[in-house]
């Protein structure tokens, strides 16, 4: 006999009513998990005057949105958000609860997990349903969420299972899960949530907020030309920009190039930057540390240019050019300009 299990929930992050792309990626992944479990995919959406945003969640496949609207939930502060989600989770007992590993998600999810006494696994790179035999404690679990994540600086991949009561909670970085196709004909049910935040949770005041659009959004880039430490200097990044401009690409960078101060952090690809999966990734002077590869190995076609034939980047490349990028990049630009 099996007891009825809860649904798959996604915390739908929004800013100014716009749903974060990572939340939609999680809805896409959540549908897959829910289909395996035979349950539904639902979202929790918090803010003020954001009912319109539910449509996007339905288009990506949520069957229900728990909508919590209140002036106490705008702007985002962690305690009122946590309180609302904790109450909802206690009431509905979702089987799985997914958060984007964004700055908001990473301060919110641990508070929720702590209050629910739930396990929480950060920065999962893959999720699937499987059984788990806990040999140490001699217990077996059916249909658990396998929470797969890199650990120890990306040197190992661990599969983690939450063995306590549901929800099974994880965070996932933006760009890691594949975004499904929206369908504008999909509709769903809105369940309005009564929001009552106790006074002692409304103590933090946001006095000032400065937020600028990112200088580049690599998550949606189709082609990325990325430069690493081998580029040599800030001035020389001009070459990388020239190639990108010529072929209609965005510019990425390795952590080494960002740390050297040659390019802004918004451009960083890898474990501590963004995870990209463009159709073409051209790595110039990037040695290809495990952390960098974690952020680009899923790209459609990878072209690596490096003067060191032993550079690890070649192990994930489809095309490898051993040579000096100062020589190779101008040749690429020329070849493209004189095409056909």
């Amino acid at each position: 006999m099996t007891s009825k299990i809860g649904n798959v929930w996604v915390f739908a992050e929004q800013e100014g009513g716009k749903i974060a792309s990572v939340s939609l990626e999680l809805v896409s992944k959540g549908r897959e998990l829910a289909a395996t479990l035979g349950v539904k995919t639902e979202a929790v959406l918090l803010g003020n005057n954001i009912e319109k945003s539910t449509a996007t969640l339905f288009h990506y496949g949520c069957s229900k949105v728990y909508l919590a609207e209140s002036p106490d939930l705008e702007p985002f502060t962690v305690l009122p958000f946590a309180d609302t989600i904790i109450k909802l989770a206690k009431q509905h007992r979702p089987n799985i609860l997914l958060f984007g590993a964004t700055p908001k998600g990473r301060e919110l999810a641990p508070r929720v997990a702590s209050a629910l006494l739930a396990g929480l696994t950060a920065d999962c790179t893959n999720l699937r349903i499987d059984d788990f035999d806990d040999k140490i404690n001699g217990k077996s679990y059916k249909n658990k969420l396998m929470q797969i994540r890199p650990a120890f600086g990306g040197n190992i991949i661990a599969t983690i299972v939450n063995t306590w009561e549901d929800p099974q909670m994880v965070t996932v970085r933006p760009g890691v899960m594949r975004l499904g196709e929206p369908d504008a004909s999909r509709k769903g049910e809105i369940e309005k949530v009564k929001v009552e935040i106790p006074a002692h949770l409304k103590v933090l005041k946001v006095l000032d907020k400065v937020q600028k659009e990112k200088s580049v959004d690599l998550l949606s880039s189709q082609i990325v030309v990325a430069g690493g430490y081998g580029v040599g200097s800030k001035e020389n990044f001009r070459l990388v920009y020239d190639l990108a401009r010529t072929i209609g690409a965005d510019v990425g960078a390795s952590r080494a190039a960002v740390d050297a101060g040659w390019i802004d952090h918004d451009h960083q690809v890898g474990q501590t930057g963004v995870t990209v999966r463009p159709k073409l990734y051209i790595a110039c002077g990037i040695s290809g540390s495990i952390q960098h590869r974690a952020g680009m190995a899923e790209s459609g076609i990878i072209v690596a240019v490096n003067s060191d034939p032993g550079a690890p980047i070649f192990s994930v490349a489809h095309y490898g050019i051993v040579g000096d990028l100062n020589d190779v990049i101008p040749k690429m630009i020329k070849a493209y300009k004189t095409k056909g």
């Binding site: 919110l108 997990a113 040197n155 661990a158 659009e213 073409l280 192990s315």
Partner: protein, 296 residues
């Protein structure tokens, strides 16, 4: 004005130097085989606490949960300006995930210390989870300010701080007590040579006992402990019982997450095509990419 700053730090394996051999067959990390360092962002948290002490007065207590060898990061904290240190250590803590860890730290904080501000590094480089700070705050029923860059003002009632958000920053105000998680926006001071000369002699009871080779007379140890305490060189140890922690909620037992398995990362075998760095080679590559509609 005077404040009690409680800083939680962690000794971590230097993940840049992890190799396959550093893993035990059961999938856990063989920490003994790795160089152990002061978690970088915890140094930023300590630096902020010392700066606050210099600006607003008070006392900085640094605590860590870890094996006996973690006493080393406490000495490092003393070299930099910590007033008091504590080692939260017990075999029963082994195998703790972030929930069991934050529970243990909350018991220590609640039952053995007085604090106005708790400071933590945003995350530790061995797991990069950034979970223990917020979980600790929840367990203590404290508000939190995560990703703190700078403290702008502090008085007995409240703090005003600047924190990083996605693509910018926020200025927030919050009453005390609270938990701050700190990012790498300050420059941690190096150890002071003078303090180092003094505090390199600081010891835990276990270290003191291990040092005795000829006799392990309990009375002699007790006498030495008094001596170390009098000189301010005593590193106090706290067991699970000292912290009044529920044995069911610590270590492996208190951890909902279990590791199913661990694999070393294997490079995906790709069939790389070598392209000559000549004009002809590159032209044929670009031509191929255009033909495949990968380049427009």
């Amino acid at each position: 004005m005077s404040f009690n700053y409680l800083v939680f730090v962690k000794q971590v394996p230097d993940t840049k130097n992890v190799t396959g051999q550093a893993m035990k067959p059961d999938g856990t990390v063989n920490r003994a085989a790795l160089p152990a360092i002061f978690n970088p962002e915890d140094l930023n948290a300590l630096e902020l606490a010392i700066q606050l002490k210099e600006r607003f007065g008070g006392e900085v207590t640094v605590a860590t949960m870890g094996p006996p060898a973690a006493a080393e990061v406490l000495r490092q904290a003393l070299y930099r300006g910590a007033d008091k240190v504590a080692l939260i250590t017990d075999r029963a803590f082994a195998g703790a995930d972030t929930l069991a860890t934050s529970y243990t730290l909350s018991c220590f904080a609640k039952n053995t210390t007085k604090f106005d501000l708790i400071l933590c590094g945003r995350q530790a480089i061995d797991g990069d989870t950034a979970q223990v700070g917020p979980q600790l705050a929840e367990k203590l029923d404290l508000p939190q300010i995560c990703y703190v860059e700078e403290v702008l003002a502090l008085d007995k009632k409240k703090i005003r701080a600047r924190r990083a958000i996605d693509g910018g920053f926020e200025t927030v105000e919050c009453p005390l007590p609270l938990m701050l998680s700190v990012i790498d926006s300050n420059e941690p001071r190096p150890p002071s040579v003078k303090r180092m000369m003094k505090y390199k002699k600081a010891k835990t009871r276990a270290e003191l006992a291990a040092k005795r080779s000829s006799y392990t007379d309990a009375e002699e140890l007790a006498r030495q402990e008094q001596e170390y305490r009098a000189k301010g060189l005593w590193i106090e140890e706290f067991s699970a019982a000292d912290a009044k922690a529920d044995p069911e909620r610590i270590g492996l037992k208190g951890s909902p997450t279990k590791v199913k398995n661990i694999e070393s990362v294997v490079l995906k075998a790709s069939e790389m095509k070598k392209v000559e760095a000549s004009e002809a080679g590159i032209r044929s590559l670009v031509g191929e990419l255009i033909k495949e509609h990968i380049l427009g």
